[in-house]
Symmetry: C2
DNA sequence: TAAACAAGTGAATCATTATTCCGATCTTCA
DNA sequence: TGAAGATCGGAATAATGATTCACTTGTTTA
């Protein structure tokens, strides 16, 4: 026997795999999953197409992994905002703001994760992604209901609707016409109202001052 | 000269074109646009693939037309509900109900129209589709604001968010676990609240009876 | 250094679909 | 009926992009 993988080689392989994933994600950031072809990836990463297959069994698997990694990063960021403490309204507003800022900063990626058409292998991952967001919002809503800060409501459904509203407002007819701040403020108040927060909707929390200033409740 | 198209032939051609479109739509209803291949269409319609090209210049054009026809039918149905008269809350609720019922009755089609990834030619049509819904909702919201039935709000943004919420709630983590009626009721109240309607949020419309029965306002 | 094995390469191959094309079939009308 | 003109059919072709494979280039250890 004359060859056994050394640590140095192992590390280089790990680094290579990471480099391929990073290159793949950069392609997705620029042009969505449609831009992620094996040829383009090999070119971007400066390797031959065959090399890609030394690190990933199939294109599907690669795409799914890119999706999963990006997803986990996004969801973790959002979840940390949801899981703070403080009143539900504050946390919800902070979360929406964070979600929105991230989506607006990397719109192509957001679109790829949320809405781009992809092959089935990735779609499965997408369900998980959406469900992760939904679950995170749902947890907050359930908490709010228990605390009496929110009226009773079907939390899973409402959470899904919130995710949909955010996705459409942020990736749909892209908000290039409004300033980002206005956009986020608008979405925030929409979501607060939709859950029964925002202004005068909660009886347990009597109005102080401003009798009906819906349109100017600051989103944070 | 010995041949000139007769009425009978013209009618047969028109019928054939319709038949092809119908077959195409049935494929989309079953498996989304991904299932709409020229081969499958020819098979379904009982013709040769060449025949398809006698009626449509290209697959893109065919797909876009299927999309457009289905879209127009759906949007027209929804718009008629939006454009009735009566209080904004009633109309909004009726519209949501209609939209939801249609989507739930043909989930694959709804998904294909709203969310499925497709080629660019169709995507352009999709923007129109979403925009059509958004515009219809926006018109109602603007009306409500002018009438003082709704608080001031960025109507275009809110309309987009409503479309997104409906789309996600109806086509996302499919609502097979809840009964349709509960689902629609939940979505309705979500949308009413989100726009500043629903129960106690409107001052011009003082509460009668039920002080805070958010969860049971009947959707219609 | 040389044998043994692994990683890298990219042209060739495969798979999937749209699209073409030409002979077969049907319609019209003198 | 038969010539003219049009549609039908479906195998052949084209285009795109994933996957393979025979080969070259490292890496490791005796």
């Amino acid at each position: 026997m004359a060859y056994r993988e050394t640590v140095r080689v192992r590390e280089r392989k790990i680094a290579q795999r990471q480099a391929l994933l990073a290159a793949a994600e950069s392609l997705v950031r620029e042009g969505g999953f449609a831009a992620l072809t094996v040829q383009a990836l090999a070119l971007r990463a400066g390797v031959g197409v065959g090399t890609v297959y030394r690190y990933f069994d199939a294109k599907d698997q690669l795409a799914a992994e890119v999706f999963r990694v990006a997803t986990e990063r996004e969801v973790a960021a959002v979840r940390s905002a949801l899981e703070g403490d403080g009143p539900v309204a504050t946390r919800l507003a902070a979360t929406i703001r964070l979600f929105s800022l991230r989506a607006l900063r990397a719109p192509r990626l957001a679109w790829a994760l949320i809405a781009e058409p992809v092959d089935p292998a990735v779609d499965e991952a997408r369900l998980i992604y959406r469900a992760a967001y939904r679950d995170a919002f749902q947890a907050l809503i359930d908490h709010g209901i228990r605390q009496g800060e929110l009226p009773p409501q079907p939390s899973q459904l409402v959470a899904a609707a919130l995710v949909g509203a955010l996705a459409e407002a942020l990736t749909g007819p892209l908000a290039s016409n409004t300033g980002n701040d206005d956009l986020i403020a608008g979405i925030t108040i929409f979501c607060l109202r939709a859950t029964g927060l925002a202004g005068s909707c909660i009886e347990e929390q009597p109005d102080k001052g401003e009798p009906h200033e819906h349109a100017h409740i600051a989103p944070r």
